[in-house]
């Protein structure tokens, strides 16, 4: 089947690619654009490792045909540190030992960013709900929840940047 054109914006940069019809967004992001922070864990929408933001809303890129994001704004983990400086969430994950194998980290951080973009002062329950679609098999989640709460405090200016 002939390839089809796709134009969209990823992390602020316009992209134009020819893709296989029916290709999923996760495969285009990883294989065409080389942005490998986004992971394909289960292809079932269950693990959350493929989580990205499309027009600021959470999307499971393994369940999203890439043609569905034609003309839209996609944000992956790589976009958070585009200026070369880590986002407070990335710093909090790194410093708080919220990253072990790292496979879930991209999805976790984007789910957390989605939360903090809407709610700068989340409760622990808010954080747990925000990452409830993201599975981590290493940390036991506590360090991830603490990292998100810590980043939120830093972003509110309540915590010194180390």
């Amino acid at each position: 089947m002939a390839r089809v054109p796709l134009q969209f914006t990823v992390n602020g940069r316009e992209q134009a690619e020819f893709i296989e019809p029916g290709a999923m967004l996760v495969d285009v992001i990883r294989d065409k654009l080389g942005l490998t922070a986004t992971k394909n864990g289960c292809s079932q929408g269950t693990c959350g490792a493929c989580t990205v933001l499309v027009d600021g809303e959470l999307r499971l890129s393994c369940l999203t045909p890439a043609q569905r994001v034609e003309g839209r704004l996609v944000e992956t983990l790589e976009g958070l540190a585009a200026s070369g400086e880590m986002h407070p969430l990335q710093r909090a994950f790194s410093e708080g030992f919220a990253v072990q194998c790292g496979f879930c980290t991209s999805g976790m951080i984007l789910a957390a960013k989605w939360l903090l973009d809407r709610n700068p002062s989340p409760t622990r329950a808010d954080v747990i709900d925000a990452i409830s679609g993201n599975i981590c098999r290493c940390t036991g989640y506590q360090s991830i929840v603490e990292a998100i709460l810590s980043a939120a405090a830093e972003m509110r200016g309540e915590k010194a940047v180390s």
Partner: protein
């Protein structure tokens, strides 16, 4: 099978595309259909997108709510006039799933999924459907028995807004805060003069699709929700159910705990 994506410019065009290709499917959020495609459980030749067809709206008129088929669980949660449905929508996956999963798609979910369908069945919802030639409104209950009619598109659901405190919902899961249903129960229990008038009780995960519990409804109808009526309803809780066994629960377990959760729902505890 190679997969193509079709972006129709109208519901009619989508219906024509579906009628022309028996391997084409109308795509809502993708949380069920693309999942089935990815796992190889469903051979799909083409995905016909619902994007841009004006099916995502939620409107209110004449005491009724009209929810477009492409409205998501997140859209329900953002609508304060649907607050009685928030406990249902909140139980459906994490935020990413809720931002993608649609009301229309939920009507096609197989047990143990499809919680919104359970709620809509208790609410007495109608389903608006269109094919390449006709459009009609059908009652949700018969729709669920014949839902995979080829070439037919669900465009929305509508229902009368329930009286305050008349709608109740419980979902039992193994995993918190979200998981597939061990079972779900939705009930409309409007009270008139202290007695139930117009009881509707629906179950999820107690049959291949959402089902009503007509024997329970009959027991409750015209009675106060007191201990005696609840005891009688609980005795007939399992009538007409045919639960399956899956990784979440066995059929035996579902049947065993249904009366417990029905009693709690009716007691409001």
């Amino acid at each position: 099978m190679p997969l193509s994506v079709v972006r129709p410019d109208s519901v009619k065009a989508a219906a024509v595309a579906l009628a022309a290709d028996g391997a084409a499917q109308f795509l809502g959020g993708g949380t069920l259909l693309v999942r089935a495609h990815n796992s190889g459980n469903l051979l799909i030749g083409a995905l016909v997108l619902c994007d841009g067809l004006g099916l995502g709206g939620i409107r209110f008129a004449g005491g009724r709510a009209k929810i477009g088929a492409a409205a998501t669980m997140a859209a329900i949660l953002a609508e304060p006039r649907l607050s009685f449905l928030h406990p249902v929508a909140r139980e459906i996956g994490g935020p990413a799933v809720r931002a993608m999963a649609t009301v229309g798609g939920n009507l096609f979910a197989r047990a143990p999924f499809g919680d919104i369908a359970v709620a809509l069945l208790a609410l007495g919802a109608d389903v608006a459907v269109e094919d390449a030639k006709t459009s009609e409104t059908v009652d949700l209950e018969p729709f669920l028995k014949d839902r995979r009619k080829p070439g037919r598109i669900v465009t929305g659901v509508s229902f009368a807004l329930p009286p305050e405190d008349a709608f109740r919902f419980v979902k039992v899961t193994r995993k918190r805060p979200h998981g597939a249903s061990v079972l779900a129960i939705a009930a409309m229990l409007p009270l008139e003069g202290g007695k139930v008038k117009g009881a509707r009780v629906a179950y999820g995960a107690m049959a291949p699709t959402a089902i009503r519990a007509p024997v329970v409804e009959k027991v409750l109808e015209g009675n106060a929700l007191d201990a005696a009526a609840i005891e009688k309803a609980v005795e007939v809780a399992g009538e007409g159910t045919e639960p399956s066994s899956d990784p979440y629960a066995s059929a035996w377990y579902r049947s065993s705990v249904l009366p417990v959760h029905l009693a709690r729902l009716l007691r409001g505890s």
